[in-house]
């Protein structure tokens, strides 16, 4: 993985010093809260319902075991012993004290981490495929370009006060695990007819109040033009994005209002001014960064492992976990281990300091020292030998991280909701917990199969409900929490926005309603038919009949 050189280190250290000065000015009263607000927001520090919340960047979701141990240390020293992994592959701490945040950032800097641009109207942490570098069929490791974009966007002099926040995701696989079509910019590595690798650009996707699947504006941008093309998009947006209405300020609204073709032309016009100049990405720099992402020293192993086969035959729980949570690795004899942070009845994405340390130890011992954070709020050990899977599973299970529910109905995305967030209209976490408990039986989950449930506590859609197969949106109705259900959403390569099923359900009714949706699916599905396939085939009517007939 990437390691800082002297320049990267200097920038992060100087940032810590700068923020320490800003906090001192706030504490001394030189800055009012109003003046301090934009400064702290540039550094991921929010004021939530009960306390400050600090969001730490995990660039494109990649961590070393040393970094993971530092996250555990921070949870213990500055928080209440846990952290929350987010849909943008970051981690949030819910209880830091303002005066201690500079020390916390200094601790982070010792392991090459920071909280730069994890909030504010700037370019946020660049996200990627959690299987980057280990998935079969990938064009190149997309993290090389994520790191280049991370550096380019860090303290960008022109784009730090955009109309609104700006999110970029990069993938290099046909299977989109990074939800690139619901980002302000989604970048897909592709090959052109001449066999050169370049970038396909989608712009103006997003969730929130106006969910949009981002349209393509350029089918092939050369590698050397990556930064100049990004500059051109951002320059058009910075000038023309709406600043009069918070809810219409994202780039998706601009793209929609001028039209995709016209927007692409505006970008192209801007690009012609700056192309082939100082923004060209030097091949030397690509090579320099690529060297950090070189494959680790894999052993030559047989594709199947005899001991693994025995363990699978002898232990049904382990067999179920391998089937659900271990993905195909590009190298024979290795597997990609998905660590579920969704234990039955747990808080999606939360991990204790002890759990983080267990993961760090396992990564060090069994996965070339690397951990990934997924946008679905789980963790990944990308490079585990098949012969080590059993001991890894045992260790994870002993720490409540061995649930074999990856991709099942209990592997939900959930925003923090009204338990923490001052924007929320309704609680999300307890809804997720109750659904999880209702479907606690693993064999029932496995029988249902893949089913993505996503829960947001308000229209801002941090819980990605629009792109859930089953989406749940918390709304406030005369002071009561209600939950609207949408069906048929997807965040993957077939990205689509779910459709609203009908009137919302109360907090007490919502779990029954979800169960009825599942019942309809089980009743009507053809053999092997996925939930989305059924919704496409039969529409919403059978679901409506079942859910609203009795009302």
């Amino acid at each position: 993985m990437y390691r800082y050189d002297e320049f990267d280190r200097t920038i992060v250290d100087e940032r810590v010093k700068q923020f320490r000065g800003q906090v001192a000015r706030r504490v001394s009263g030189d800055l009012t809260e109003e003046q301090f607000r934009p400064l702290r927001l540039m550094n991921g520090l929010y004021l939530q319902l009960h306390a400050y919340m600090l969001r730490v960047a995990v660039p494109y979701g990649t961590l070393s075991s040393k970094q993971m141990r530092m996250l555990a240390h921070i949870a213990r020293k500055y928080d209440k012993g846990y952290g929350h992994f987010t849909t943008r592959q970051n981690i949030q701490y819910n209880w830091p004290k303002l005066e201690e945040v500079p020390d916390l950032l200094a601790d982070l800097a010792t392991v090459e981490m920071h909280a730069i641009q994890t909030s504010g109207n700037c370019i946020r942490n660049v996200t990627s495929d959690q299987y980057a570098g280990v998935a079969a069929g990938e064009i190149e490791d997309p993290r090389v370009y994520c790191e280049i974009i991370r550096q380019w966007s860090t303290f960008h002099p022109e784009f730090s006060f955009l109309p609104r926040k700006f999110k970029i995701a990069v993938t290099a696989s046909e299977d989109d695990r990074a939800a690139i079509r619901v980002h302000d910019i989604g970048i897909q590595l592709v090959k052109n007819a001449a066999g050169e690798t370049g970038f396909r650009f989608f712009v103006g996707g997003g969730l929130g109040r106006t969910p949009v699947v981002g349209p393509e504006i350029n089918s092939f941008v050369k590698k050397k033009d990556l930064l100049s093309y990004l500059e051109a998009i951002l320059r058009v947006y910075n000038q023309l994005g709406r600043r009069d209405n918070l809810y219409k300020a994202r780039i998706k609204i601009l793209v929609r209002s001028v039209g995709t073709g016209e927007f692409a032309e505006m970008v192209d016009k801007e690009w012609q001014f700056i192309k082939d100049g100082k923004y060209d990405l030097p091949q030397d720099e690509i090579d320099r960064i690529k060297a950090y992402f070189a494959p680790p020293a894999y052993e030559t192993l047989p594709a199947t492992d005899a001991t693994l086969k025995d363990k699978i035959e002898a232990n049904a729980d382990f067999a179920a976990w391998v089937k659900r949570n271990v993905a195909e690795h590009k190298v024979p004899g290795y597997g990609i281990v998905n660590i579920s942070l969704k234990p039955i009845g747990g808080i999606p994405g939360d991990a204790t300091a002890e759990q983080m340390e267990v993961v760090a130890d396992l990564a060090e011992k069994y996965s070339f020292d690397e951990v990934r954070v997924t946008h679905e709020q789980n963790l990944v050990l990308p490079d585990v030998k098949k012969s080590d899977l059993f001991v890894v599973w045992e260790a994870l299970s002993a720490s409540d991280m061995g649930t074999s529910n990856l991709g099942t109905i209990t592997d939900m995305i959930s925003c923090p909701g009204l338990d923490y967030c001052n924007l929320a209209n309704a609680r999300s976490i307890p809804v997720a917990q109750r659904i999880s408990e209702r479907f606690a039986d693993l064999s029932r989950q496995h029988d249902i199969g893949d089913l993505k449930v996503k829960i947001s506590g308000c229209i801002n859609a941090c819980g990605h409900h629009h792109v859930g197969n089953i989406g749940i949106l918390g709304v406030d109705k005369k002071g009561q929490e209600f939950y609207q259900i949408t069906l048929g959403g997807s965040a993957t390569e077939d990205a689509s926005i779910g459709k609203i099923l009908g009137p919302a359900f109360s907090y007490d009714e919502i779990v029954d309603a979800v169960e009825k949706v599942v019942d309809v699916y089980l009743e009507h599905r053809a053999p092997g038919e996925a939930f989305l396939g059924l919704v496409d085939r039969v529409g919403l009517d059978p679901f409506k009949e079942k859910l609203y007939a009795a009302h």
């Binding site: 320049f7 920038i11 100087e14 960008h156 910075n238 000038q239 001014f273 030097p282």
Partner: protein, 167 residues
Amino acid sequence: MPLIKGDQITEDPWVYADDEDELPSGDVVVHLERWEKDKDSLRSRNGKLGLILRSDQSPELVADDLAAFDLIALDFPAFKDGRAFSYARMLRERFAFEGEIRAVGDVHRDQLFFMHRCGFDAFEVENAAVLQDWLEAAREFTSVYQPALDAKQSVLRLRHHTKKAAE
């Protein structure tokens, strides 16, 4: 309003003209509306001419007239309205404007570093007493990732040029 230019507080020789009043003598700054109305008389008067643009007025609107101005003032109606960062760069990079580019309005010390990098070279500030603070804020970072308009070499360049030089 105190003016920071060239790392010090300087006397501001410019006067902002109202849209209707008779123009004062000396160096004046006018709004775009007045420029469009009185172009000819403004061009022929003695004294330097400056233009102030609101954040919804792109310098593209005066692309053909830039030679007439010695100063372009770009307004920040609120710190978070960042359009003028792009305007300043456009003036320097696309239109090769060499006169003064001044940041006016809601100008924060914590933005000075970025403004300087985007081509601003003068800053109207509220409080001259904290000049030292402002100057420090402008120097909080010694390394930068992007090529821009200040004298700083980007990290990209430093990495690969120092390497080449060493080879």
